[in-house]
């Protein structure tokens, strides 16, 4: 990480040396996201101000269509806000180049998508290796080992050679989680990671995330519809119709 910060030192709002820990991992300021289609303009997020501190476990709740996934894709640097600023470690990302953004996504963030997004033509283990492919200097052996470890954590060691089409929805969800873990990210952004799992498996995944958060200090933002799960996290952020309501 230090390396990356050093190479992009020309960007604005330099963090004070050694003060990185005190800065929020993610800060969204006056965020607005408007989706423009031919016929209709959808305000998916409106005046969102949100700070995620290092080591926090935050859950995001709200009814369907209120903008939770949109929020996560902005946090994951997959999309740009229509207005407002996003800061990662105290630095605005709007000015980042394509390469810098790609590096941030690869090294810092693990993303679990609501609809898994596995590559159907790759086996389970190859899917989990995908983020590691974009790491400079990581050999094939290490990639494989990390992928297998991650699959072990989500209880899928027996399915490494399967293809996504041969897995149940819950199993695919777990592959997607393993893929987010494989890179050892600082932040995990999980969009309903237990949405397709039965309660037992859901509990296990929740425990896994809690463990990562507590033992490894991974910052986690999780979208969920489950109040029980939300209660286990440190903070709940509620949305309604694109706005933050609590």
């Amino acid at each position: 990480m230090e390396n990356l910060l050093a190479t992009s030192s020309h960007t604005r709002s330099q963090p004070l040396n050694g003060a990185t820990d005190a800065l929020p991992v993610l800060r969204l300021t006056n965020i607005e996201k408007v989706y423009q289609t031919k016929t209709i303009e959808t305000v998916a997020l409106n005046q969102v101000n949100l700070t995620i501190n290092r080591g926090e476990f935050v859950s995001v709740m709200g009814p369907s269509g209120c903008g939770k996934s949109t929020l996560l894709s902005l946090m994951g640097l997959l999309d740009e806000p229509t207005r407002g600023t996003i800061e990662v470690d105290g630095r605005t990302v709007q000015s980042y180049s394509d390469r810098e953004l790609a590096n941030l996504r690869n090294l810092k963030i693990g993303f679990v998508f609501q609809s898994y997004h596995l590559i159907n033509d790759l086996s389970v283990v190859d899917n989990v290796e995908v983020p590691l492919l974009y790491r400079k200097g990581m050999g094939g052996k290490e990639r494989r080992q990390r992928a297998l470890d991650a699959l072990d954590k989500v209880g899928l060691s027996a399915r490494t050679g399967h293809f996504p089409g041969q897995l149940s929805g819950g199993q695919r969800q777990r592959v997607a989680i393993a893929r987010a873990l494989a890179g050892g990210p600082e932040i995990i952004l999980a969009d309903e990671p237990t949405g397709n799992l039965d309660s037992v498996m859901g509990e296990e995944i929740m425990d896994l995330l809690l463990g990562l958060n507590r033992q490894d200090g991974v910052t986690i933002v999780m979208v969920t519809h489950d109040e029980q799960q939300a209660l286990k996290t440190q903070r709940v952020v509620r949305f309604f119709d694109g706005s933050q309501v609590g």
């Binding site: 999309d79 790609a102 997004h117 033509d121």
Partner: protein
């Protein structure tokens, strides 16, 4: 990353099989066209082995079912030779250069067969008229009149295949399968000279082993037509041609004659040879354009099918450029499979010595076809890959 591409391509083999076979067929077509073009170009650049400039072909016809008395024929030759502007005249058979008339045969020397060789009748002035380049020995001459065998001059390529590095002059060979009983002296060929290999078919044809048999008076007794090569001074034209025609008519009224310029016959033959080659090239070009458009379409479709994958890879840390390279790289790997299959097929031609051609043009054609195929596929993959590179991760991930 290359391993990853192989895995991806292997897992998508059904979709890629189509691409691979398209590449394979393009390669084979390009190889075929390339081999023809390279062979033609290589021949074109080689010397003809004789000088076709300022040579005319005088055709003298005695008329239907009329034979040519040798004495009158000799008169024609002598009088034409005497015309101002005429350098040399030579009597030969009908298979003069660049016209559609060939006469070939296989010979035998000490039980060893020669390759198929062109056989020409030639008199003592032929070598001079055609400006053949003597390498060994001499052209036949009146001093050969008393010879017990028929004197011949052979081309260097025939010499190499019949006599190798050993001496050729003074050797005697025969037709293939000389038959039983004592051979007739005129069917035993005594080598008096060796000339450079000649390319007499067209500008684009290869050298063909050749034998020039010395005409003996007996040969012409059954002729109805005589072919005379006339080497003229530079700048000679229609006026001299008319004079020659009048000279022939002056010897005997029944005979008709026609003068043709060998260089014109060469150009005519060149055109005739070029037409199918150009046709082949145009057909090949259309085929390749077709394949290229098909490839372009398939790649375009592939990318629209794989938008979610692109978005995902971007989300996992691939740069836009990285995605572009991945798609280009996949296509190059697929191309490599197609080219390898094609090379496997194409390599049979030099290995099996097909069409009796040397290996070099085939190898060149393989290289050229491979380069062209890589170029075409890279060109086709370029735009779709750039398109893929420009896809924004969030947009791509939405669609499913």
């Amino acid at each position: 990353m290359l391993r990853h591409l192989f895995t991806l391509i292997w897992n998508r083999k059904r979709a890629n099989l189509l691409l691979i076979s398209e590449v394979f067929f393009s390669f084979v077509v390009l190889f075929g066209v390339g081999a023809v073009l390279i062979t033609a170009a290589k021949n074109y650049l080689a010397p003809h082995g004789f000088n076709y400039e300022q040579v005319w072909r005088l055709e003298v016809r005695a008329g239907q079912n009329l034979k040519m008395p040798r004495a009158e024929l000799d008169d024609v030759l002598r009088q034409v030779k005497a015309l101002p502007g005429v350098r040399t005249v030579a009597l030969t058979s009908g298979n003069t250069p660049f016209i559609f008339n060939t006469n070939n045969s296989v010979f035998e020397y000490e039980g060893k067969k020669s390759p198929q060789a062109n056989v020409y009748d030639a008199d003592d002035h032929y070598g001079e008229a055609m400006q053949l380049h003597l390498r060994e020995g001499r052209w036949f001459a009146p001093s050969d009149d008393g010879s017990n065998h028929r004197p011949v001059v052979i081309s260097q390529d025939l010499r190499e295949s019949m006599f190798g590095n050993g001496p050729a002059l003074g050797k005697i060979f025969t037709w293939e399968n000389p038959g039983k009983g004592p051979a007739k002296p005129e069917d035993e060929f005594l080598v008096t000279g060796v000339v450079d290999a000649v390319r007499m078919e067209s500008d684009f044809s290869a050298a063909i082993p050749s034998v020039w048999k010395r005409l003996i008076p007996y040969d012409t007794t059954h002729w109805e037509t005589a072919n005379v090569l006339v080497r003229v001074a530079p700048g000679s034209g229609g006026e001299l041609q008319e004079k020659i025609a009048r000279t022939v008519a002056g010897v005997t009224r029944q005979w008709t004659s026609q003068v043709r310029v060998m260089d014109n016959e060469r150009l005519h033959r060149r055109l005739y040879t070029l037409v199918p080659v150009v046709g082949l090239c145009i057909m090949g070009l259309f085929l390749i354009i077709n394949v290229a458009l098909g490839l372009f379409g398939v790649l375009w479709y592939n990318i629209s099918q794989r938008r979610a994958e692109i978005g995902l890879r971007r989300a996992m840390g691939a740069t836009g450029a990285g995605i572009g390279w991945q798609f280009l790289g996949e296509m190059m790997v697929v191309t490599t499979f197609g080219v390898l299959l094609g090379t496997l097929l194409a390599a049979q031609f030099p290995l099996l010595n097909a069409f009796d051609l040397p290996a070099q043009p085939y190898l060149l054609a393989i290289g050229a076809a491979a380069a062209a195929v890589y170029f075409i596929t890279a060109l086709c993959a370029w735009q779709p890959s750039r398109l893929a590179a420009a896809i924004q991760p969030a947009v791509a991930l939405r669609e499913e």
